[in-house]
Each structure stands twice: as structure tokens, then as C-alpha cells.
Symmetry: C2
Subunit: 134 residues, 2 copies
């Protein structure tokens, strides 16, 4: 079901895009609280996300809009979009299909400093070779 | 108790600081999963955080190291520091004393798009006037 029509004229002026026209967006699995990833949004990505309810980022490497899951199928359905006190960070509560990370792990934060050293703390759950085959 | 001596010579090269020498850091309450805030770290802030176990950021407005809670008392004790797949975002699992947000709310993401409009969804729990009195 499409989300309610967002009042973009009221919402967008509250967002403090940086000098490059971007704002960091943290994606969090809405029911478990797992922090999945951080990516960037420009104004168009934010509008597209609010209008469609499917998360869309700005790819800083490919310099284009990037609908999460467009090639991998691992889409992020938006549950709620939140804004921080300064308006310069977005928090996306999402329902993540499959895995969020291009390495095939559920989330991108799979390296932790433990005992003074970086350790890999999560397993690959989907072979990344199969993620981008389509 | 001080954390184990971090192997900074191995950890720091894994972190992709941006052109300004900064990396975004997402702070999450370790036991509830609540996303508290996003701030920025430079190399010195990261080293200080890992060495002391107390979270330290780089203030982009004051252009200096900023130990969270240094004036408000609302410190963040580091439980675990994680790094994402690209090494360009840090996730801090913390134990937050008091409130994370300078508005006196528990976390900074207290505005949500609901029914197409931005709504304030969290109450002030500590009067911000008392936060910075010391």
C-alpha cells in the first residue's frame, strides 16, 4: 500500500543537506533494532522514498539514484522516516528483504574491536556472487 | 575498567576517513537497540574512544575534540566499536548516561513522518536548561 502523500513542502525545509546536497541516512530494522547500514540521500532520493515507501539512496560512487535492492532484490520497505534534532541525519526504520550488505551479510557492521583487535563477527548468509547475478 | 589496549596500528588503516579526515559514527544503546545520535570522529577522537572506553567525537562546529557528556554529564560508555564493510562508518554500541540529545530527549531522532507530516514523537525528559548549567 502506498504511504500517505507526504507534505514535502513542509518536510524538506527541515532537512539540512550538506554542501554536496546530501544527508546521511541510517537504516535500522524496525522490529529487531539491528542497525543495517548507513548510506546517503539527496533531495530526490528522500522524496522518492517518502512517496513510494521503498528506500532510495544517492550513490556517491555511481552518481545516481539507487533504489536499494534494484539489482540484488534486497529491498528496504520503509516503515518510518525520522529526522534528528539538527535535521542533518535521517533514521530509516525499514523492513529489510534478505541482506543489507553487499558482502551477503545481514548488516554492514560485521567487524568489531574485541580484545583490542578487529574481528569479523557475522557470517555471510547469501553468497554475494548470487546477489548481483540478475 | 580500562578496555584492552587497542591495536591502533592495525585498526586505523581500516577506517576510510573522508576528505575532511572524518567518519560518521552512529551511537546505539547497546541493550535496547535505540539509535541515539549520529556525530563525527576524526582519528584522534577514535583513538581516544578506543583507549579510554568513553566516547569522544570531533565537533564540527567548535572544531575540537568533544568528549560526550563533558559539560552535560551525559557520557557514553563504549561497549563495542564496530566498522562497516567499506570502513567509512562506525557503529558505537554504548551505555548512555541520562539523555543523548541536547534538547533533553533520550535520543536525537524525535521527529517522525507520520500521516505525511513531521510529528514530534518523544518528550523532553531532562530540562535542557539544567543540562548545560555546570
Amino acid at each position: 500500500m502506498a504511504p500517505p502523500t507526504p507534505d514535502l513542502a513542509a518536510i524538506l525545509p527541515q532537512i539540512a543537506f550538506n554542501a554536496e546536497g546530501l544527508v546521511p541516512a541510517v537504516a535500522q530494522q524496525h522490529d529487531t533494532g539491528e542497525v543495517l547500514m548507513l548510506a546517503w540521500m539527496n533531495r530526490a532520493a528522500l522524496e522518492e522514498t517518502l512517496r513510494t515507501g521503498e528506500v532510495c539512496y544517492w550513490s556517491r560512487s555511481r552518481l545516481r539514484l539507487w533504489r536499494k535492492g534494484e539489482t540484488s532484490g534486497n529491498a528496504q520497505h520503509l516503515v518510518e522516516l525520522r529526522l534528528d534534532c539538527d535535521g542533518d541525519t535521517v533514521l530509516l526504520l525499514v523492513d529489510q528483504a534478505g541482506v543489507a550488505c553487499h558482502t551477503g551479510r545481514r548488516n554492514c557492521f560485521f567487524r568489531a574491536v574485541r580484545g583490542g583487535h578487529l574481528e569479523t563477527i557475522a557470517e555471510v548468509v547469501i553468497d554475494p556472487q548470487t546477489l548481483y547475478r540478475r
